[in-house]
């Protein structure tokens, strides 16, 4: 089972790698880390603690922490949606930490509200809420994308906002079309 310490270490390591800081308010940070732990227990992956998850990996992939929206949100507002990851000036208290708007596109959000599946034989410390399968998962069409700057290749619905390898912007990604050789 995932421990709170492990969740904390993972977030700290990710912040270091990306030049971000974790929320400077210890209680607020503790709440978020506990939320991530809870989600990992009930869904099987650390879905964003501040958003409604579908409980289906394919539908929640973009909101698994660190979510797809973190990098553009920290760049624009100084914090991610949850305010788990913040920029240096906010960490140091030079800029206040305020709530920011939801960047996740409406159509992706909508998928979380039509479907929820049972937590995967959850070993959660407290019983997961009773959830039934409401319908078939919305179809997620994955494609191959490559970063034209560094060559990083990823198989997912949309290209990342920022290349995790070379930090190129989304515009630098192009789709790889595979056609049968004749």
């Amino acid at each position: 089972m995932i421990t709170l310490e492990k969740v904390r270490q993972r977030a700290e390591a990710d912040a270091r790698t990306n030049g971000y800081y974790l929320n400077p308010d210890p209680d607020f940070l503790q709440d978020l880390l506990e939320g991530l732990k809870r989600n990992e227990e009930r869904y099987g992956y650390p879905s964003c603690p501040c958003r409604l998850a579908a409980g289906n990996l394919e539908l929640d992939r973009d909101i698994i922490c660190p979510c797809d929206y973190r990098d553009p949100d920290v760049a624009e507002y100084g914090t991610c949606y949850c305010a788990l990851y913040v920029r240096k000036d906010l960490y140091e208290g030079k800029t206040p930490i305020s709530p920011i708007p939801e960047r996740r596109p409406s159509e992706k959000q909508a998928r979380s509200y039509g479907i929820s599946v049972e937590a995967p034989a959850s070993k959660a410390t407290e019983p997961a809420p009773a959830m039934k399968v409401a319908g078939q998962p919305a179809e997620v069409k994955k494609k191959l994308w490559y970063c034209r700057q560094c060559g990083y290749v990823v198989f997912r619905e949309d290209p990342p906002y920022v290349c995790p390898i070379c930090k190129a912007k989304r515009e630098m990604f192009a789709q790889i079309e595979i056609s049968a050789l004749g």
């Binding site: 929320n23 607020f28 940070l29 709440d31 978020l32 506990e34 939320g35 991530l36 809870r38 989600n39 603690p49 501040c50 958003r51 409604l52 998850a53 949850c82 305010a83 788990l84 305020s98 709530p99 920011i100 708007p101 939801e102 409406s106 959000q109 909508a110 979380s112 509200y113 039509g114 479907i115 929820s116 809420p129 009773a130 959830m131 039934k132 409401a134």
Partner: protein, 94 residues
């Protein structure tokens, strides 16, 4: 729908809050309302069933808001998204 009622002396307005049980901003907003002795109801959306998820989303869309947490609805008309203390104080007159 599993609405939880919190009593308070500051009960001039009807306050409904949509929240997520794991969301730190939601927790902070609940604490702010508690500390201000505000009477309110809240729903932890992630702890409700699918039918409620849809209803809650429809309710927020109907009010011109994409789901975002916390969302406060004051007197069934004023919508406040996020912990905006000034706006909450203004709407609740305290």
């Amino acid at each position: 729908m599993n609405k939880i009622k919190v009593s308070g002396k500051n009960n001039k307005h009807k306050v409904l809050m949509y929240a997520i049980s794991t969301c730190a901003w939601c927790k902070k907003t609940k604490k702010f309302l508690n500390d201000s002795d505000v009477e309110y109801e809240y729903v932890d959306v992630d702890l409700t069933n699918d039918e409620d998820h849809e209803k809650i989303r429809e309710d927020m869309i109907k009010r011109g808001e994409e789901p975002s947490y916390p969302t406060l609805i004051v007197d069934n008309k004023t919508v406040i998204t996020g912990l905006r203390k000034d706006k909450i104080k203004e709407a609740l007159e305290f």
